[in-house]
Amino acid sequence: MATLVQYLQYLLNGITLGSIYALIALGYTMVYGILKFINFAHGDILMVGAYTGLLTYTALLGDSTNPVWMLTAFFIAMLVSMAFCAALGMFIERVAYKPLRSANRLAPLLSAIGVSFILSNGAAWIFGAQSRRFPYPFDDTPIVIAGLSITPHQILTIVVSVVMMVVLTLFVNRTRMGKAMRATSLDQSTSELMGIDVNRIISMTFAIGSALAAVGGILCSFDFRVYASMGTMTGLKAFVAAVIGGIGNIQGAMIGGLLLGVLESIGAPLLGIPSALRDTIAFAALIIILLVRPEGILGKNEREKV
């Protein structure tokens, strides 16, 4: 039997993992909110983000071991990766999804799966099959408080994720473009009538979602390493998190991500199953949610007062 401290440890680890899921889940949910389409290439964007971040970071760092420069270089690499993935996300939307917007619903989905393969195979071709370690931009010796151990990279992950989510929430609720994005996801044809350029909003949504995926990709590579197919399982989990939270709902994706991370982390020891089977927990949670509350935690069944 695990002790209370151990459970608190699992909870902490779960929150760390969950905040990464949340960042990635946001991209699925925002795109779904506007286009009612699951962007299955989203997971591979996080892989591209991780590689871009890693390459930029190692290039910037060179032989330096200066702790201030290490952290600065890390954040510069993160911004470069966000910008690159934002551009890539917009490009993919323009080339692979937009021309299919009036086609049947299956066509963009298949196109997304195609893009996903192109990205992961392309990365395997360029970078090889060998996985790479993302070096910590600091000394990652855990800090132990009352038996609870927290590593600097966990702190970094949680802080960066929280900042991203707060900024996104402010953007969506307070700014003109953010409100226009919400309006577009509520009612596209009425948004056009307000003079909103829906195509621009869609591009912007892909850019934001992909930039967040880049951050998620970099943060998860501390634990999972960087390799060409790293986006597949993490992307799928984040998608599950988006569904659990209520797909199309931004707060839902954040809650769903955290919940899934915690469930995965605590679930295995709690149920006494081997931790290698913890992926099962995510999908079991998905099935339960689909049976009990198919619209997700914060999703609503589309009833409106007429």
Partner: protein, 245 residues
């Protein structure tokens, strides 16, 4: 008075079904023009054609002496959001409020392309004066509003951008008679006080013709009558078919 909107022989098809057949009509600046017709006559399609939400397969539409929509492939029709920016505001049938947003956020969206924040704030206060009930509910989610309040909000939202022409699709639909009267009164005020040209589509023919200067009658996708509204109210065909007399 000058011609604000001119529709020249437009046809619209949905697959094999022709929803509009060579429709021509015009709206003079400063007028209230009513389009009456039965359910399925093509009234909403005509409004959607004006705002660029359905493609034309024949004819063209001009707004302020500029061709904005055409069936010709080599000449570009303006997309809906550009038409909105030119000053065409449509209050769609069924109101289509952004239900998850507050009244104030809805009005902000109505002024999306107005970059002057102080003008937007002033316009909002104007709307709250004009529709006091909206002022009282400004922080509420729009879904909690009654049907009549939602209709007023949809009209206020359309006016936020100070449009040249206000298009209204069935503003009285599903509302209690007293509320409908109230809304039509507001529409007349918007026209007379703010000098906004109004083009409204309405099944309630009596209400529409009494509130307007000119009227058109649409049957099976064709314009069959056009005259001063006062004359249409006396027209035997209109009286039989639309006024139930």
């Amino acid at each position: 008075m000058s011609r604000l909107l001119s529709i020249d022989g437009i046809s619209v098809r949905y697959g094999a079904i022709e929803a509009l057949h060579q429709v021509s009509m015009s709206v003079e600046e400063g007028d209230i023009v009513a389009l009456i017709g039965a359910n399925g006559a093509g009234k909403s399609t005509l409004l959607k054609a004006i705002v660029g939400q359905v493609p034309l397969c024949e004819g063209s539409i001009s707004f302020r002496d500029e061709v904005v929509s055409t069936s010709e492939k080599h000449r570009k029709s303006l997309p809906t959001h550009m038409l909105a920016r030119m000053g065409i505001a449509l209050v769609p049938e069924g109101r289509h409020v952004f239900a998850d947003m507050t009244v104030e956020e809805n009005l902000d969206m109505g002024a999306f392309f107005v970059r002057d924040a102080s003008l937007v704030a002033r316009k909002k206060e104007e709307m709250f004066d004009f529709f006091p009930i909206l002022g009282a509910r400004r922080k509420q989610k729009t879904r909690s509003l009654s049907g009549g309040e939602q209709q007023m909000m949809a009209i206020a939202r359309a006016l936020m951008s100070s449009p040249h022409m206000l298009l209204l699709d069935e503003p009285g639909l599903g509302l209690a008679p007293l509320v409908v009267q109230d809304i039509f009164q507001k529409i007349k005020l918007i026209n007379s006080e703010d000098k906004v040209t109004v083009f409204l589509v309405e099944q309630n023919a009596r209400m529409a013709l009494r509130s307007s200067d000119r009227g058109y009658c649409l049957e099976n996708g064709r314009i069959v009558l056009s005259d001063a509204s006062s004359a249409l109210l006396e027209n035997d065909r209109v009286r039989q078919a639309y006024l139930g007399e």
